[in-house]
Amino acid sequence: MAILVDNDTRLVVQGLTGSEGRFHGLRNRSHGTNVVAGVTPGKGGQDVEGIPVFDSVSAAVAETAANTAMVFVPAAFAADAMFEAIGAGISTVICITEGVPAHEMLRLHAFVQHRDIRIVGPNCPGVLSPGKANVGIIPAEIFREGSIGLVSRSGTLTYQIGHELTQLGIGCSTIVGIGGDPIVGSSFIDVLGLFEADEQTEYVVIVGEIGGDEEEKAAAFIESEMSKPVVGYIAGFTAPPGKTMGHAGAIISGSAGTAEAKKDALEARGVRVGRTPTEAAQLVAEIARA
């Protein structure tokens, strides 16, 4: 089954004619993703290696029945692109672009509340369901298909852990990079809920990093809502304490935000946490083979 992207995904790439959009859009197609359209305003009628380009997402949806959008447009236009995709009836929007202004994400998030829409990102590596579909920039060749659901705030760290799992012969159902911006479309908890409901996923790995309290929230969610075993990894154990300015943040989260605090929160809920990516992968192997 996998989550978010699979064999039923019909992908429209917003920004397909840009260099990154083209490189990764074609790479996604070569992994087997059904890339049905591209959108670049003013370039409707062109094509990118056979993928038709439209002026608008609504035109792309009308012609190709696209159901998932990948946003690769520059940061200043990314929120607009996401709103456009939603307006055209797309229900899953995955935004790779980094640098999207946070206030625009605030409004977007408020807008999609109570609508049946899933946003992933921005500033994320995308979503890969090995053997089914790859939407984003995750190098699919380092993962194999299997039963681990992997969710991460970090892009390259996700690849590292996936690589370590592959070395141990362990495959993934879906890999989701949620992105690390202040306001992201999907949080750990959103994705954990999807994994819990997914038949293919038997175990889950959560990859966090210092700062914020998303890992702590995930820990509480895992305890109350999840039956599947979860393994954690947190980056930043040796990060020196930083300077602080303003105090509102720590008060809101009520957490120190350190790797140790996150590890403790997860372990208190029965989630084993590795101190290195290698150790985390070994913990997964132990559990999966038990």
């Binding site: 990154e20 990764h24 940061a75 200043a76 202004p101 946070a102 206030h103 994400m105 605030l106 409004r107 408020a110 807008f111 500033n123 995750i138 190098p139 380092i142 705030r153 970090s154 892009g155 390259t156 760290l157 690849y159 590292q160 690589h163 992105g179 690390g180 911006d181 202040p182 306001i183 949080s187 990859v207 990093e209 210092i210 700062g211 914020g212 309290d213 998303e214 980056a235 930043g236 154990f237 040796t238 990060a239 020196p240 304490p241 930083g242 602080t244 300015m245 303003g246 105090h247 509102a248 943040g249 720590a250 809101i252 989260s253 957490s255 120190a256 935000g257 350190t258 101190r275 290195t276």
Partner: protein
């Protein structure tokens, strides 16, 4: 992928993360000085005291003559604890101003050297409140916090009398309305009608300021009430979203390059995310998470990282050259560990960048490279063919870290 800075994103703390930002990637924010924040407050109609900026004792004296005595001389540094460090002093006359300014300018406050002082008309304070507006990353909404128990550490208020700290989210599509302001004022227990009215107006203006500047944090601590019953912002903590600066050139100009660590400033100029640490192993990765993890692994391998340096998502050849230039300016660096897992970053580009940098800079430091992911094979082939004496490759992150630690020993 943008990545934040090592310890959490710089703004993070500002945006509801823990210490210094927090998410691993600092959602990057531009922190403004008190005087800059106050100027923005003033522009948006939030009452502040009259003040002037001064860079030397003589101009401090002139500034004080201008605003009228007594004045407060306040160090302008992007860190807390100025008062305790002696960076804020009251002056009754021109000689005192000059003397205080002379002492404060050049002072080192938590590693920040004071180059500017703000000379402000002193205020009589009857009561001190606290008002802030920031991002609640979990709720994904702007959050007001208000308490009449200002003048102490706000964390302490939150811990000891949580009921005294009023929290109110604003739906960004609805915007901030007078009812929000009334709620804060009533729930905060402000009873004087004139104060209620003034604070409510400040709440609305603070929201306007927050939206207009695309801020991540606007904090007024303390918000004072004078004996005459006038409400004013006596301090400002203000951070704006780096990602939105492209449409706020006025705010972008407020960046104080001199306030940053010189290496960090150079890094910023080059578009490299760099945080100076105190060891000997230069660490260069792509992506904040992986780079942070690399710093951990180098430490666990018994080494001391010299820095956190994130190439970011692009990592083209020039990016590598720029990053190496920054890292090698630090004389403590004895070996460099490249840990690259390509996604958008392409291994062949990184390899070319390493060779280009080594050639251009005549680098002799030992370099250990671990390449995986997109075009990694091609990258390893390029490095292998170059056969540089000071460059070795390792197959895994752990092996690479161990090797770099050995070489730096």
């Amino acid at each position: 992928m943008s990545e934040e800075r090592l310890n959490p994103r710089r703004c993070s703390h500002t945006c509801a993360d823990g210490p210094r930002g927090s998410s691993g990637r600092l959602a990057r924010a531009l922190d403004l000085h008190e005087y800059q924040g106050k100027e923005l407050f003033r522009q948006h109609g939030i009452p502040v005291s009259e003040g002037r900026l001064a860079l030397d004792p003589a101009s401090a004296r002139a500034a004080a003559d201008d605003v009228g005595y007594p004045v407060v001389v306040k160090a302008q540094v992007l860190t807390g604890g100025r008062g305790k460090a002696g960076g804020i002093k009251l002056a009754e006359n021109a000689d005192e101003v000059e003397a205080h300014a002379g002492e404060i300018l050049g002072m080192d406050i938590r590693g920040h050297v004071v180059t500017k002082v703000w000379i402000e008309r002193a205020s009589d304070i009857e009561r001190e409140y606290y008002l802030s507006l920031t991002f609640d990353r979990s709720a994904k909404k702007p959050l007001f916090m208000f308490t009449t128990q200002g003048g102490m550490e706000i964390e302490e208020v939150a811990a000891t009398s949580p009921d005294a700290l009023v929290r109110l989210h604003v739906d960004p599509l609805e915007g901030c309305h007078p009812w929000h302001a009334r709620r804060l004022v009533y729930d905060g227990g402000v009873t004087d009608p004139s104060e209620q009215k003034q604070i409510a107006a400040i709440v609305l203006k603070l929201y306007e300021t927050f939206v207009a500047t695309e801020a991540m944090l606007c904090e007024i601590n303390p918000l004072i009430v004078t004996p005459e019953g006038e409400v004013r912002a006596l301090d400002s903590k203000f951070s704006v979203d780096d990602n939105a600066l492209f449409r706020h050139s006025d705010l972008a100009e407020l960046r104080d390059a001199a306030a940053a660590d010189p290496l960090e400033a150079l890094a910023r100029e080059k578009g490299v995310t760099y945080v100076k640490l105190d060891g000997e192993v230069g660490v260069l990765g792509n992506g904040a998470g992986l780079t942070m993890s690399t710093v951990d692994v180098v430490t666990f391998a018994g080494g001391r990282p010299a820095n956190f340096c994130d190439l970011g998502g692009g990592g083209d050849a020039q990016g590598v050259v720029d990053a190496l230039e920054v890292i090698t300016r630090d004389p403590q660096v004895r070996a460099i560990f490249f840990n690259i897992f390509g996604g958008i970053t392409r291994g062949d580009e990184v390899a070319r960048g390493i060779l280009q940098a080594v050639g251009q800079m005549g680098l002799e430091l030992p370099i250990v490279v671990r390449l995986d992911g997109t075009n990694a094979e091609e990258g390893r082939r390029i490095l292998g063919e170059a056969a540089l004496p000071n460059l070795s490759t390792e197959a895994t992150m752990l092996d690479g870290a161990r090797r770099a630690v050995e070489l730096a020993a």
